[in-house]
Amino acid sequence: MFKVKQMVTSLESEILECLKSKGEIVTYTVAADLFYEGQIPVVAYLVLDGHIHFLKGRTIKETITGGNLVGAKELMSNTHAIMSAQIMPKTQVCFLSKSDIHEILEEENELAEQLDQIINF
């Protein structure tokens, strides 16, 4: 996965289901830029179904599918994304905002522990 690895975390289905219940689930009808190279993602994206392309300039470097968490580390540490991300139509994602992630971390349960590990990895 080249450098995309730093921005994407593959999740076990159990964690994915728990996180899914904490955010807002949306299906994109049109393609959209989620964030650009050098920016901080405004929310974290839990990909449930469909595709997200990672680009360097205009070249697609990697495509990820369901079961991945994108941008959580960058969002919580205010670090810049090393690639741009573009979501494709009909892709279903669950948005996890900074507030959602703070709430999860404050719960101090297993999910909080796992998420903390993902963010601080």
Binding site: V30, A32, Q39, I40, V42, M76, N78, S97, K98, S99
Partner: protein, 237 residues
């Protein structure tokens, strides 16, 4: 984990005094700074796209952003130009509708994003923020009403004069030759703002230049005679 650059804190915002959070106490601004995400958008990059789901509020730190609507025929119309201190995405946030317009940076623009959950909490706890948001919404509505009546009641010459005066109010700066508009819009963008064709706009700009109302330095327009422009715009100035 939550480090934020000192320069990105709300207390150092160049648009301080113009935004919706300006009445908050320093400690509240510190908390807000921890919850926001600050990004720089290059010219042409989009903040959000018409038809997508809203998940927060965008607060412009500096720069200009065009808000456009795309019709069924694919044509783009600029509905407004937002600048430092303005907020974007607030309408869709409160109605939970999809974005009804697209926001694109007209130049290098610094923008802060605050997620929906946090912004609703801030609004609930701080009536001053709600009042500022209501104020912005009311102004937006007033501008939309003026635009609608202009499109119906005024000819292209009047609409162009009105647009130049409107841009003068928001982006005007005094220089020796007159009032310089500190915003770079293409002819096409200006044409969509007054609901006319490119060719017609170019014709009227030439006419305005010939009449000594405006002057051009590259893409920058300088208003030479705002009083006569107000007459041409057919408004009480």
């Amino acid at each position: 984990m939550r480090k934020i650059k000192e320069a990105d804190k709300c207390q150092h915002c160049p648009s301080q005094g113009k935004g919706v959070f300006c009445d908050l106490e320093s400690s509240e601004l510190d908390e807000l700074s921890q919850h926001k995400v600050t990004n720089t958008y290059k010219k042409g990059q989009t903040l959000f796209v018409q038809g997508n789901h809203p998940f927060g509020l965008y607060c412009i730190n500096s720069g200009n952003i065009k808000v456009t609507k795309t019709g069924a025929d694919g044509k783009e119309t600029i509905v407004r130009v937002a600048q430092g201190g303005d907020i974007l995405g607030h309408r869709s946030l409160f109605t939970s509708d999809f974005y009804t317009a697209t926001a694109t940076a007209l130049e290098e623009t610094k923008v802060c994003f605050i997620d929906k959950k946090y912004i609703l909490k801030v609004i609930e706890e701080n009536p001053s923020v709600s009042l500022h948001v209501i104020n912005k919404l009311s102004r937006d509505m007033g501008s939309a009403e003026n635009r609608l009546s202009s499109l119906h009641q005024k000819n292209v010459r009047e609409r162009l004069a009105e647009l130049l005066l409107l841009l003068e109010q928001t982006h005007g700066e005094d220089i020796e030759e007159g009032r310089r508009l500190n915003i770079k819009l293409t002819r096409e963008e200006m044409a969509t703002m007054i609901g006319t064709a490119n060719e017609t706009l170019i014709r009227f700009i030439s006419e305005f230049k010939d009449e000594g109302l405006i002057e051009q330095q590259g893409k920058i327009i300088i208003l030479k005679d705002t009083e006569r422009l107000a007459d041409w715009a057919n408004l009480a100035y």
